[in-house]
Amino acid sequence: MSDTIIKLDAVQKVYYLDTVEVEAIRDISLEIRAGDFVSIAGPSGSGKTTILNLIGCVDKPTSGTVIVNGQRTSDLDDDRLTELRHRSIGFIFQTFNLIPVLNIRENVELPLLLDGLSGSESKAEREKWVDFLIDSVGLKDRMLHKPAELSGGQRQRVAIARALVMKPAIVLADEPTANLDSATGESILRLMRKMNETFGTTFIFSTHDPDIVEEADHIIRLKDGIIVEDRRIVEDQDDKLGFRPSVRATSPEATSTGLNGIEATGTEGSQP
C-alpha cells in the first residue's frame, strides 16, 4: 500500500466574475498515492484545471482542505507555497510554457538556477543531471536550440525534462497532449509513463481524450465540478508492473538503464 501524497477534502472553489459566482468544483474529496499515474478526465469546464491548480499550489480553495506532500496549502504564505512548488511539484503545461529567450539546456536547468545552485550537489553533478534528462527525452542534439526552433512534441519533451529536474514528488500535466497530433501525444504519454515508472514520481495529468484517460492507473472523472468516477485500475502497482522503485532516482547512473529505451525520437520532430 502506497502513502497518500495528495489529499483533497470537501474542496470547493468559487470564482467571481464581476457579480456572478461560478462554482468551478464543489465538495471534491480524493486521495492520490505516491507514484500513481493519474488521469483527471472530463469535458471542458468540468473543473480539471481547477483541481490541478489547487494541487499545484497555484491557487487556493474557497473551502475545504488541500494537503500536498504532507502540507496543508491554506496554511502556507506565498513564499512557502512557492518553495513547495519549487521543491515538490513539476509542471507540464498544455502550451509548453518554455522561456523563449533561453535555449533548451537553460530551460531544463531553469528551476535549478532559481534555486541559486544551492544544496548538497555540486554544479558539475547538476549539469550532469540536466544533460542526462535532455538525453533521456531525446533532445541531446538540440540542446542549444531555442524553443522556437523545436516542434510542439519536442517542446513538450523539454517541458517534461524541466518538470523532473528538481526531482519532484509530483508532476502535474495540464492537457499535455492537447496541442499535439495523436502520434506525438502518444509518444509524450509514453515518455511520462516511463518517467513515472523510472523515478517513482507521481504524475497527474488532465485530459479529455478518452484513449489517453485509460492509460492511467487511477482515473478521476469530473462533470460539472463534481467527481463522477474515482477508479483505481490496479490497486497495487507493484502487481501490475512487476517492479517499483522503492527510492526515487537521484542520479543519472541510477536511472540511465531505464530511460534510454524510451521512444524519444518520435514522429513529432517534423512539426516546427
Binding site: T49, L52, N53, G56, V58, D59, D78, D79, T82, E83, R85, H86, R87, G90, F91, F93, Q94, T95, N97, I99, P100, V101, L102, E106, L110, P111, L113, L114, D115, R162, M166, D174
Partner: protein, 500 residues
C-alpha cells in the same frame, strides 16, 4: 544570476521596446550631459574670472537693504553708502584663520572722466591700495604703459584700456601717463565731488568681459572723496576739546525742538518724547569714516582713524571649504551686530553670475519636467512589456521563482537599458563636446558674451556633468520601472495554467 540572464536576453527579444526606451534614455543623457557641460563651462569660467579677478571667494559689504555687487550696483541708491564700520575686526578675524589666503579692502563706484572742463565719459572705478590689490589679484592686471603707482604718489589713476580709448577719442588732448584728468562723482551725502588725478598708466584686465574690462583703478583716498567718505589723505583730524565734546554730545535735532512749540508744550513731570533722528552725530562720524572719539588730557584730541571701505574681499586657500568659511564669517558678522552682509562670489559678481546660476536652475527645472514626461513614457512601455509577458512571468512563478526574482529581472532590464543607452548618450555627448570645444560657440549678443566670458564659448567636458546626467537617467529608469515591477510581482502563478 538567472534574473540578470533573463533580463539581458529579454532586451534582445523585445528589441523594438528596448530601442524606444533606449533612445529616450540616450537622448536624455545626451541633453543632460551636453547641457550641464555648457553650463558648467560658463559657471566655472565666470567663477574663475570673478574670483581671480574681481571678487575673491567671499565678500563683506556694509549694511544695506539692497543687493550689493562689487561693481556697486546700489551706489547712489541710498543716502549714505554702506561701508564696513568694524573692518579691522574682520581683518583680524580673517587673518587669524588657516583657510584664508588673503584679504583686500576696496571701494567702488561710478565716476565721470574729463580733461579740463570737458566731460568725456564715465565708467566704474575701484579705489584701492595698489600694492594690496596687485598682491590679491596677481595675474589679472597688466600694465600696458606708464608705471605702477607708489604709496607716496599724488592722487593717481590707472586707466583701463577702454576708458583710455574713450578719453583719447573724445578729447583733443593726448592722454598719456602724467596727463591730469578730472574725475567727478555724485556723492549723495556730499553732493558733487570733483577731483583732479594724474594718469599713472594704462592697464588691461586679463580676464574680463565688456563691462569689467572698463574698470579703472584709482587711489583709495580719491575714491573716498568721490564717494563722500572722509579722506585720510591729510592724516587724522586734530580736534579741540570743545570740538570733540561738541561732536560727542551735539544733537542736531535739538535745534528744531522749539520750532513747533505750540504742539510740544509739556506739562510738568511729563517725559520728553523720544525724537527720532534721521542723522545723528554718531552717523555723521561714522559716515566720515571716524570711530570712537578719544578725549585726551591735552587741549586737542585725535580721532581714531578708521578708513572707510565698502568691500572686504576674501580669498580662501586652495582646497579650503568656502561654504564653511562663509557660514563662520556670517556668524562673526552677526556677532558684530552692524548688519554687514557676507556673500559669495555669485552675489559679488552680480547680474551675470546670477543669470548663469538662474539658467542652471531653469535648465534643471526643465529637465525635471521633461523627466516626469519621460518617466511616464518609459513606464507605459514597460507596463506593455510586462503585460505581454504575463504567461512567461506566471510560468516562472509556477516553477518556483519567488517574487524577488521577478522584481530583479525587471530591475535588471531597466538598469541594463540605462547602462547601454547611457553609455551611448555619453559617448555621443563626449564627441559633440569635443567638436564644440574645437570650433567654439559664438556669443550672439553682448549678454551672452558676458555670460560666456568672451565672444566664443569653448565648452569643456565636465566629468561632474557626465556623472550627474547618468545618475539622473538611472533615477528616471528606476522610477519608471517601479510600477511595472509592482505589476510583474503581482502576477500569480495560476496565469501560467491559462492558454497563451
Amino acid at each position: 544570476m538567472i534574473s540578470a540572464r533573463l533580463a539581458w536576453r529579454n532586451l534582445g527579444l523585445h528589441r523594438k521596446k528596448s530601442l524606444i526606451i533606449g533612445l529616450i534614455m540616450g537622448l536624455g543623457i545626451l541633453i543632460l550631459f551636453v547641457g550641464n557641460s555648457l553650463i558648467d563651462t560658463t559657471i566655472s569660467g565666470l567663477r574663475r574670472m570673478f574670483v581671480e579677478g574681481y571678487t575673491g571667494d567671499l565678500m563683506v559689504t556694509g549694511p544695506t537693504e539692497f543687493s550689493t555687487t562689487v561693481l556697486g550696483e546700489t551706489a547712489g541708491s541710498e543716502e549714505v553708502l554702506p561701508h564696513i564700520a568694524q573692518i579691522k575686526k574682520y581683518e583680524d578675524f580673517l587673518i587669524s584663520r588657516q583657510d584664508v589666503a588673503s584679504i583686500l579692502p576696496i571701494l567702488s563706484g561710478q565716476v565721470s572722466f574729463g580733461i579740463g572742463e570737458e566731460e568725456l565719459g564715465s565708467g566704474y572705478c575701484f579705489g584701492v591700495n595698489i600694492s594690496d590689490y596687485r598682491a590679491f589679484f596677481p595675474d589679472n592686471v597688466s600694465l600696458l604703459s606708464g608705471e605702477w603707482p607708489e604709496e607716496s604718489d599724488e592722487p593717481w589713476v590707472l586707466l583701463s584700456e577702454p576708458t583710455y580709448a574713450l578719453l583719447q577719442q573724445s578729447s583733443n588732448t593726448e592722454v598719456k601717463p602724467g596727463t591730469k584728468i578730472i574725475m567727478t562723482a555724485l556723492a549723495n551725502s556730499a553732493g558733487t565731488v570733483i577731483r583732479e588725478v594724474s594718469v599713472k598708466g594704462i592697464i588691461r584686465f586679463n580676464q574680463s568681459n565688456e563691462q569689467l574690462s572698463g574698470i579703472t583703478l584709482v587711489d583709495a583716498d580719491t575714491m573716498r572723496d568721490l564717494l563722500g567718505f572722509a579722506s585720510l589723505r591729510d592724516g587724522a583730524p586734530q580736534l579741540s576739546e570743545h570740538e570733540a565734546a561738541f561732536l560727542t554730545d551735539f544733537d542736531p535735532d535739538s535745534l528744531f525742538d522749539n520750532l513747533f512749540a505750540s504742539q510740544t508744550i509739556l506739562t510738568e513731570g511729563e517725559e520728553q518724547p523720544e525724537i527720532v533722528s534721521g542723522v545723528s552725530s554718531e552717523d555723521m562720524l561714522e559716515n566720515a569714516g571716524l570711530g570712537t572719539i578719544q578725549v585726551s588730557s591735552s587741549t586737542t584730541v585725535t580721532a581714531e582713524i578708521v578708513p572707510a571701505w565698502q568691500f572686504l574681499l576674501v580669498r580662501a586657500k586652495k582646497g579650503a571649504n568656502t561654504s564653511k568659511l562663509l557660514d563662520e564669517l556670517q556668524a562673526f558678522s552677526e556677532q558684530l551686530g552692524d548688519g554687514d552682509r557676507v556673500q559669495d562670489w555669485i552675489a559679488g559678481a552680480g547680474k551675470v553670475a546670477r543669470t548663469a546660476v538662474t539658467i542652471r536652475l531653469v535648465f534643471d527645472l526643465l529637465v525635471a519636467i521633461i523627466a516626469v514626461v519621460v518617466v511616464m513614457i518609459m513606464m507605459n512601455v514597460l507596463v506593455i512589456s510586462v503585460n505581454e509577458r504575463l504567461h512567461e512571468i506566471g510560468t516562472l512563478r509556477a516553477i518556483g521563482a519567488k517574487r524577488h526574482v521577478i522584481r530583479s529581472m525587471i530591475l535588471y532590464e531597466t538598469t541594463f537599458m540605462a547602462l547601454i543607452a547611457g553609455a551611448a548618450g555619453l559617448i555621443i555627448g563626449f564627441i559633440l563636446l569635443l567638436i564644440m570645444g574645437k570650433v567654439g560657440i559664438r556669443a550672439p549678443n553682448l549678454f551672452f558674451e558676458a555670460l560666456f566670458g568672451g565672444e566664443i564659448l569653448k565648452p569643456v567636458i565636465s566629468i561632474g556633468a557626465a556623472i550627474r546626467a547618468f545618475l539622473w537617467i538611472l533615477a528616471m529608469a528606476l522610477a519608471a520601472c517601479w510600477y511595472p515591477t509592482r505589476l510583474a510581482v503581482r502576477i500569480e502563478p495560476v496565469v501560467a495554467m491559462r492558454g497563451e
